[in-house]
Symmetry: C2
Subunit: 214 residues, 2 copies
Amino acid sequence: MRIAVVLFPGFTALDAVGPSEVLARLPDAEVRFCAAVPGMVPSADGAVQLHAPDSLAHDARPEVLVVPGGPGTRTLVNDARLVDWIGRVHSTTTHTLTVCTGSLLLGATGALNGLEATTHWLWMDALAAYGARAVQRRVVEAGKIWTTAGVSAGIDGALALAARLAGPQIAQAIQLSMEYAPEPPFDAGTPDRAPAEVRALVLERARTGRFPSR
Amino acid sequence: MRIAVVLFPGFTALDAVGPSEVLARLPDAEVRFCAAVPGMVPSADGAVQLHAPDSLAHDARPEVLVVPGGPGTRTLVNDARLVDWIGRVHSTTTHTLTVCTGSLLLGATGALNGLEATTHWLWMDALAAYGARAVQRRVVEAGKIWTTAGVSAGIDGALALAARLAGPQIAQAIQLSMEYAPEPPFDAGTPDRAPAEVRALVLERARTGRFPSR
């Protein structure tokens, strides 16, 4: 099974690596990263640079396409080359998984029109603008399209997809091998559970690119 | 605040990228990857290659050192250059965070002797062999040393460390920005909760490097 993860400057590192860590553990699966310009692709955080050996011209016809999100999507939803590539590759996948604002890139292809889909909680309106029925859930399955909430939700989505692809026992074994029994130190992972001051900090970061110093 | 993540061939990608995704969001923090041979460092899964701009000779004296784990640690605990570097850098950090079997590399420096520490559930005996009091918990704090359980536990450990470094409000804002409200599709993330057949699959993968095909 060929699994392609498409990278672009300004992707969020965990959006790509969470699902790739899960899906690369599937038996008989090969995960490959690709990008418009092969080579090192800088993530949004300035620290992670991931290597994409394949260019978008490389016609792999993967069974599974993974589209991460990140600040880079804000301009790249208007990049015809990337959006066309996603639309074309998606047309022959068995499953397409988006993480965070990766769903906006898929939305820009028209593939989400009329479908239930999700994204990072800050970008629900942008998702709806592509004709999707935007819902705030962790993982949304709509036919072969799986969209997930912000950043870390890609791990949950990939595990659910792994169960579909290889059965629940292998998916559980992947979960156990990654010791994925999360214990977040706070209960602040969704906008309704986080305090208002915490939400305000995230809105400020969305506007300025960083959290304020103390 | 300088945060160094040390990479080596055969590191587990999520061990490194989970914490880097969290810690790079701290205000006034810079995360940098380093490795014995700077450049592209291949992870254990064969797909992820992360770029390390700095060599171990680059004397950065980071405030925070992150040591990921992965299959590469099995031989690298005997690599004097890497182990000496970890011991030397650790000696001047304010905090050192290990993920998964990264604690074995720190253990090989002697730094865990007599301390409570944890690692991936499969490697508790190896950790104890370094004189640590090995405990099966998600995150273990022992003075400035934070050790975490397998792979995904680095996210929880890094969030707890972020709270220590920048206060609980910023840590919660990081959590919310990553929408870290996990919903694993199964309850199989620890050896006591996973069915026996699932545990057997993970033991087989530890032996052979992969899960069996169906």
